[in-house]
Amino acid sequence: MNKRATASDRGRRRGRLGVAALVVGLGAVGVAVWRSGSSSGQASGPIVFETVVVGAPVTPPNNPGQVSSTVVVADVTTTSNEVVAPTDDAVAPPTTATATPALAVVGAPRLSVPADVAQAAAAFSVIENGTMYLRGTVPDEATAKRMVDEMTFRKGGAVTSELTIDASAPQPTTVPLYVPTAALFDAGGAKLLEGIGPTLDVVSSLLRNGDNSKLLIRGHTDDQGSEAYNFALSQQRVAAVLAYLVGAGVDPTRLVVEPRGEVEPIADNSTVDGRAKNRRVELVLVPA
């Protein structure tokens, strides 16, 4: 697909992106970003803190009244085998990690297989203005304590627990970390806004104090303009986050960039609000 962009299109985009920077902070992340079909059950066991989403609070389906919640969770048991939908049939990536190379050339390198999975959760963590909170519902005090201890260790400092106990709540196998922010970047650009440091510094502390987890840095855009433009823009934004974290002392080998451009919308691109939601950056912590 080659969509043509005119000078006037560019002008309109700048206007939209100006809005986007604002709207991102009002709710740019939805559960649709995480793929279905990857559940691993709700068995008890070690809690794995693995998902960081930079964006804004969304309403979890199991807590419709809790606006400041999120349900974004990744399932570490299947991350290595999940795939992203092909973007083009001609060079579609293999459907599993062990599939035949897509390119019918002996010895040809094959396209790598991005990983992504999702699972809803009732408990989650969130970073607001540099402070980490644990929110949502867990089945017992012991679980809550484990969550607090784990996140305190990872953060290297205190976290604030706002967890509620409900015996009927599922035992969490994973806990999302969610980072709401008014905006990460200047309008239409790829320069991190001043003041974003405290949030990303918390993220970097999580990497330093935990295990050898890797952080996936994903960038998404809406569909306005050419695919090439949007891919490049998502690249430049994830590059900015990567450069910041490396500058903050994070081992670059633990950071993986995944620019996605416009191909993974989570909302309707035909509406202003939908496009705003689609313009987002996600950070996903994947345990080693």
Partner: protein, 445 residues
Amino acid sequence: MRAEWSRRAILKAAGTLAAGGSGLWLAGCSGSSATSSTAPTPSGPPASGGVDTTTADPLSSPAAIDASVATTGVPATFAPGVDYARVDRPATLPDNGLEPVDAGAAPEAGPLRLYIYPDYIGPEVIAAFESATGTTVEITTFDEVAEAEAALRDGTTTFDLVIGLPSVVITGLVVDSAIQPLNSSLIPNAGNVLGGLQSPYYDVGARYSMPYSVYTTGISYRRDQVSESLFNRDDAWPLLWDPTYAGKVGILPDVRDGLALGLLVNGITDLNVADPASIAAAAAVLETLVASMQPVFDIYSYENIPNGTTLMQQAWSGDMGTARNYLQPGQTTEILGYWHPTRAPISNDLMMIPARAANRVLAHQLIDFLLAPATARANFDFVGYQPAVTNPSAYDLTTSGGVAEHLLGTLVYDAEVTIGYRIDPISPEVEALWDAAWARVNTSS
């Protein structure tokens, strides 16, 4: 190989010679010049995006490499007391016995003698400088890095400023006292240099150089014939192996850039690697490209893409800026596409003052002039390669119409400079390994 080279061909070929040092890219152009008897042997399907390295016979003698080099790729020293610079091991270049011009010295009468690639600076920029300073600029051009390096060392020619040599050569020029230190107080616009290059790892403190241009290495493509959707990913290098485009792909012809492609598709990002197996694997995967895709080995993507000789080609980002000058009748820049990975190979060319410069204050003035925002923009409009400055920024160049929207990826953001992968000097022993591997790739063509 073409009888005549355009300005960009000359420019970039010279750069690759400097990086590779072997001249084997010429063999790539002609498809001959075999130096290895190894037959092209496409390996089996890679186990994990890599290749079968069992055919790596030319590189099976790691004993030839110093042990420290084999493990790190970086010899202990370039010269006594001088380190090999790496991004993670910045090097402060030594004092070479030359003194920078005094800050209070009066500007010379000129003329300023500029040594540069053909057409690598805008005529209007030169005219503006002459008008501003009241001097004249005499331009002498060079075609190859090796030629320029020799001229700077031989003591028979004198220039006041050399522009276009890549960072990979600077250590040697300093050690050989072929260039002199700069006086930063005479370059107030140095503050406009991209943040990542203000004090570059290859010349900490920018004592001897200022950056001129910055560019990535990626894939240029015909946007009207290859879906840009294919490039919505960070690992699009394997697209060059897509049989749909057999006979219509190309790769850079020099040993360092060429083998870097093989390394990257194999998931190796150390573009100065000394490990023989990694080098062999890079060659092996490129042999499969040669066997199945019949790529061209050249630097002419800015011509090949518009005229259809290739539909996808490993290229430098600035080439798609240059390509606007090579469009066919009826074509617009809409047909031009460029992709690079987020963490891309990054390069930059330099401005340096030769040791025997006679007009040193004027040389500083031209450096400063070229780093000024308005001048940098005007020069970009002519050259097509992005100036290594903050203003105009990559974003400025896009939104002001300097670059078509869909070519946003041809521009280099500051963060991308920070996280990019560099091709740096390697020891003679390691270079021999690279040359042998590259010869095998060429043999298979």
